[in-house]
Homo-oligomer: 137 residues x 2
């Protein structure tokens, strides 16, 4: 919506149709999608959309701190439009990613002296509620 366009304008990013759609997708779905998930979902509505545009757009968003990348070690990156400090849980069964609304644990004092820390990522792996339920039915 207009809402999303404003977010882009605040970052001095021109709100093209493609950019607004990609950011809207991220904000509405909150599903930490891969490039392929975004492309596959938006392509039917925008037949001219290019995969490259999705890559370019996400990279632009990342440079402007509108998204963070997540790497669960599956071979492709995921994107998160919620940049508050929080952790992520990936279900090893269904692949869904869940937000854990707790900031990553303090690790002050962990790094050797003389080192400087710029950021940390904590990834949690396991089974989500739905998948656990299924396996006990």
């Amino acid at each position: 919506m207009e809402n999303v366009a404003h977010i882009l304008l605040q970052k001095k990013i021109r709100p093209s149709v493609q950019r607004v759609k990609v950011l809207s997708y991220l904000l509405e779905k909150r599903n930490h999608p891969t490039v392929d998930m975004i492309y596959t979902e938006l392509h039917p509505q925008m037949p001219t959309l290019s995969r490259t545009t999705v890559y370019n757009t996400l990279e632009l968003f990342r440079e402007n701190q509108l998204v963070n990348t997540l790497d669960f070690g599956e071979g492709s990156l995921r994107y998160d439009a919620f940049c508050s400090p929080h952790c992520h849980f990936e279900c090893e069964e269904c692949g869904q990613v869940f937000d854990i609304e707790t900031p990553p644990p303090a690790i002050d004092g962990l790094v050797p002296s003389g080192f400087s820390l710029s950021r940390t990522s904590l990834y949690l792996y396991g089974k989500c509620r739905g998948c656990r339920r299924e396996s006990t039915l």
Copy 2:
């Protein structure tokens, strides 16, 4: 050495030349290498070594809990032959990976009820001592 062959035999893995060399490399260097680093270093001594063998060998080691994979989001996996619970720090300047000999922080209670946790990975990013020193010279 023979030492390394014994480790493999304990896991009922036949200690072929290639397997012993790859595991020795990991244990001696402790440098969390990528497949390419291993291949590049071992190839001169073993001209017939194949990259595929390195991949196969590491996968076999992983299945037998002899190594863990690390994914710092650089596009290629790294391998760690020390499986005690500890964290990793990657220098954003020189790319070196350092062990942080502290177990990943307890995150009990972080996961939503009904979820089960199987493992966690904590990645730290920043500048190592050497690179900080260089930048202030």
